[in-house]
Amino acid sequence: MVSISNLQPKRASSQEPRRLATSATDKSLMSSDALVLEGVTRAFGALRAVDDVSISVAAGQKYAVLGSNGAGKTTLFNAITGDFPPTAGTIRFFGEDITALQPYERIRKGLRRTYQSSLLFKELSVRDNIFMAVRGVGSGRFSFWRAGANDASQVATDDILHRIRMDHLKDELVGNLAHGQQRQLEIGMALAGAPRLILFDEPAAGLSPAERRELVALLKGLPAHMSFVLIEHDLDIALRVVERVTVMHNGRVLRHGTPDEIENDAQVQAIYMGGKH
């Protein structure tokens, strides 16, 4: 299992976590809810891709959002990260209203996401991709000075490279990597800095059965304090790694419940089995 210590930069100086960590107010740290959505709606013209969705994810809670294709899951993620801001509703992150913030401001507060189809910088090296993820949530984004080998961001980059066992590929252009390696790099980038909540958008897509099993183990092994919200079509994966589930259908919330409740829900089964709904 992955321990908390494994997700902290190992070779960094004692001050490094502070330098790399995103700012968090005492108030937000005390909040027991990591993410609260209240009546979030995202409309594209007349189409309400996400319609009045309310969800509450507790700090440290592992959460899944399920639904068939077109249910609005990824649009919901986009609303949370600000890629496509909600047209109505409120989003609170550790007690702070982030509805009107720019995507980069939300990320700096400890929110992370991975994309359904890998959005990586294919003309840059593996190392540069991770380095950007580290710098994006750290300091020196506008630096005109190359970071020295002992710079905290370099150490953190090497640490993630080492952790995801891609040291030997660090100078490889990402466009040359295999699909599984790109998925892995995506998740490695989400671990940069000090994530407090990660949105995983179908992390198992395109992985082999063996890789999926290991992904489950990885998700289960994430630190207790770290929340995540998972979008996954594979119910076997989703229901094994989360504590709470929301099922969406046609942009609206169909059910909230525990994995057991959802698994045994007749309507959910009907949707997933293609029955009438």
Partner: protein
């Protein structure tokens, strides 16, 4: 790597864990390797001398020797009219190829920014026109550069919210607006006449208007601009800028303020264009609305495209070909048709190599077996 190996690595977090090393992914044929290896060599740290010798190849030394010896073997006409002019336009085109090649923003207003710096030198410094203020060059040049940076930043701030053809249109509109401003304003810009006799100052007892000193002045700043961009694109700012070019949405989701990065890139390009503008007004000895007309806005784009925008050297290669053609085409073909020759050469280069001369060079290198060409697959 499989998720299994990954998880084991996450669990152990130590070097040399009992997980089989993963097969290295073969690089694409001809693809240049990332240069980040020079930033972080594994194992023993190589000495500065070794790093320097690794970075400098024979062709670098040859080019350096060539540009240093050129004015001593070439005629003063060639040194001044061709070489120095090419270096100046290369510097202005570099400001565009930096924006376009590394930031994905094609601005047609770079010549306008250069013109603003040039006009600042003429208006604030000494010229043959009475309205010039005649300030000392030591104050005028920094102010001219500051004006160029400020103007470029404002242009960037206006245009970065657009993409592609819209960026081109908005920057073209700004360029044309500046042209009409200087054409019709007499109180500051002296209208159609512009400013004559704007000469470089004599410093250290050297008359910098002479071909040889002026060539070295232009060479110094062209090289400074080239190495500055070479340096910049490997800094965190430069890497982030390339990220915004490739995927702005993803950069946002990594915590980067894409708009701020793009505007900052415009500021940097303003510095380069401003330097070029100051040198250009000294080179011509005059500046007038014709210097910032639509023709020259487009010419800077032609130079950048001709050379290739995926490496800083492309701007200078493009400028050399452009100036050579402009200077000597008239000797090769009758006076009425020399523009046809220029256009034909441009068309041929762009047709055979969309990446300009750099792309042509890469094709030749790959055909003849070298693997270290400046390739079209990377933008280092």
């Amino acid at each position: 790597m499989s998720a299994a190996r990954w998880r084991r690595a996450m669990n152990t977090g130590a070097v040399g864990v009992a997980a089989a090393p993963l097969p290295a992914v073969p690089a694409r044929s001809g693809a240049a390797r990332s240069m980040s290896v020079d930033r972080h060599a594994a194992g023993t740290a190589p000495s500065r001398w070794k790093l320097l010798s690794r970075a400098v190849s024979v062709r670098h030394v040859l080019v350096l020797v060539f540009v240093l010896l050129l004015p001593f073997v070439a005629t003063p006409f060639f040194t001044y009219q061709v070489a120095a002019q090419a270096l100046i336009f290369g510097l202005i085109a570099l400001s565009l190829s930096f924006l376009a090649g590394y930031g994905g923003m094609v601005s047609l207003a770079q010549m306008s920014v250069a013109g603003m710096a040039g006009y600042a030198v003429a208006v604030l410094g000494a010229s043959g026109t009475e309205s010039s203020l005649g300030w000392h060059w030591g104050a005028v040049v920094p102010i001219a550069l500051a004006i160029a940076i400020l103007a470029s930043t404002l242009i960037g701030w206006l245009s970065v919210r657009t993409d592609g053809i819209y960026t081109i249109m908005i920057t073209l509109a700004i360029g044309v607006a500046f042209y009409y401003l200087v054409l019709q304003n007499y109180s500051v810009f002296n209208g159609f006449q512009g400013f004559q006799k704007v000469y470089p100052p004599s410093v250290f007892g050297i008359n910098w208007r002479e071909p040889l000193p002026f060539y070295f002045l232009a060479l110094f700043w062209a090289m400074a601009g080239y190495f500055f961009i070479q340096w910049l694109v490997r800094t965190p700012f430069g890497i982030a800028l390339q990220g915004t070019r490739d995927n702005a949405r993803r950069m946002n989701s990594l915590g980067f303020n894409v708009t701020a990065h793009r505007v900052a890139a415009y500021a940097v390009s303003g510095l380069l264009a401003g330097l070029g503008g100051v040198l250009l007004v000294w080179y011509n000895g005059l500046i007038s609305p014709g210097s910032v007309g639509t023709g020259w806005l487009i010419n800077v784009l032609v130079i950048a495209v001709l050379g290739g925008m995926k490496h800083p050297i492309g701007a200078f290669l493009g400028a050399i070909v452009f100036i050579l053609l402009q200077t000597f085409a008239i000797d090769l073909i009758e006076r009425e048709r020399f523009n046809l020759l220029i256009g034909g050469v441009f068309l041929a280069i762009v047709l055979f190599s969309p990446d300009g001369l750099l792309g042509l060079w890469a094709k030749l290198r790959s055909r003849f077996g070298s693997k270290q060409a400046v390739t079209s697959t990377t933008r280092r």
